[in-house]
């Protein structure tokens, strides 16, 4: 594993509550390590604190307790050099409505020594953004595209996106994912994006982190996750007892002689044992990310 100093993002026991006497913290002991080259999808149901976590990582919110290191620094006092390495796409595009798209880009370019104007122009072209129109009247989808160009054009080493595709149509989403993958092409570029559109994540994420009840309850390689999380469909010779349970099950549903059991991992021995013990037909089903997500969330 990577040591803390190698990690691009390192979060330890992070707590965040809003207000003075908040009884329910939004983040309640988050641990997370993001290594260089990872494309990490951050998932969680609405209101689980994905945006809060992202804002803490960027130093936009002051944490209640715990520790965060981004490029080895405290994000609340991030150096200019480190800031220049980060690209951020907020959930709500934060743009200057009176500027044209071209002006907005030129304005942002001034802040970044590594700004790649050719690349920015290329993206504007590819995404058919009206360079000479004012940003104010643009649709939310177009504003989001501008916001994404702003985050990509200085070729950041760390790209953080908060629900970047929420307002994009399917074609734009696909183009956006392509650009993201191009950004990830350089091995040490790291991407963290929150989403609840699991199909986008399945295309490009290398890792997945799941936020639930204020904690990261799962952080794993996406492939590994799909390889291990399975659902067992059990059809026994006789009615199963109400107490039917398998150690390590995420969720169990029993109806008479049939049972559905979601498992965090399954080995051949277990399946064999179930077959003989309950005189059962057991099939092992693969789960896609959405199904895994649902199983974990209701578990």
């Amino acid at each position: 594993m990577f040591s803390m100093s190698d990690a691009v993002i390192h979060v330890r026991n992070l707590h965040k509550s809003y207000g003075r006497s908040a009884t329910k913290p939004v983040l309640n002991g988050v641990d997370l390590t993001v290594s260089p080259g990872m494309v990490l999808g951050l998932v969680g149901t609405n209101g689980e604190g994905k945006s809060t976590l992202i804002k803490c990582l960027l130093g936009l919110l002051r944490i209640t307790s715990g520790e965060i290191r981004v490029f080895g620094e405290d994000p609340w006092n991030l150096s200019a050099a480190s800031k220049a390495q980060i690209g951020y796409v907020p959930q709500e595009p934060a743009l200057l409505p009176w500027m044209t798209v071209r002006q907005q880009l030129a304005y942002a370019a001034a802040f970044f020594p590594t700004w790649d104007a050719t690349f920015a122009a290329e993206l504007v072209e590819r995404w058919r953004l009206p360079a000479n129109e004012r940003i104010g009247p643009l649709s939310l989808g177009q504003k989001q595209k501008v916001s994404i160009v702003l985050a990509l054009a200085h070729r950041p080493k760390l790209l953080i996106l908060d629900e970047p595709v929420a307002s994009l149509d399917p074609v734009a989403r696909r183009q956006f994912l392509e650009s993201l993958m191009q950004a990830a092409e350089t091995d040490d570029n790291t991407i963290l994006f929150s989403t609840h559109i699991t199909s986008d994540l399945e295309r490009i994420a290398s890792h997945l982190a799941m936020l639930k009840d204020g904690q990261i309850v799962l952080c794993d390689e996406l492939d590994h996750l799909k390889d291990r999380v399975k659902r067992l469909r059990i059809s026994a010779g006789a009615d199963l007892p109400r107490t039917f349970a398998i150690g390590g099950a995420l969720r169990t549903e029993v109806h008479g002689r049939n049972a559905l059991v979601a498992m965090a991992s399954v080995d051949a021995g277990l399946v064999e044992e179930l077959r003989t013990r309950w005189n059962a037909d057991v099939s092992v089903e693969d789960l896609n990310l959405e199904e895994i997500f649902v199983e974990m969330q209701i578990a």
Partner: protein
Amino acid sequence: MQVTPLQFEVHPSSGVPIYRQIMDQVRALVAGGKLAPGDTLPSVRQMGAELGINMMTVSKAYSKLEAEGVVSRSRGQGMVVDRVDVGGTVADRRKELQPFAEQLVVRGIQLSLSDEQMLSVVKSSQRDLRDTASA
């Protein structure tokens, strides 16, 4: 012979990880004779761009195929198809085929086909594959 990324069909929202889908399809192309020893696989970059998936996933599939001895990495040429046979004893390989046979038999029974009729379906599939291979 040369295969293109368009010959691959990837379903990101399947429960089967993408890298395994690619591995299965390469194996199928080899088994079906669409890829012969000496043929090359599309580059990782081509696959990633055409299929709209993370290139690391393609790399992973290729590396695992390399470890299995299906392809080998050749300087300047990328991944080259190695040899057609797979590892394991005959008993192991039969065991691997067993679940597919079960599926076939179950479906055959549902369609009320006789044992002989099911066998003839298998035989005609084998013929078809051989024909494509020699074509």
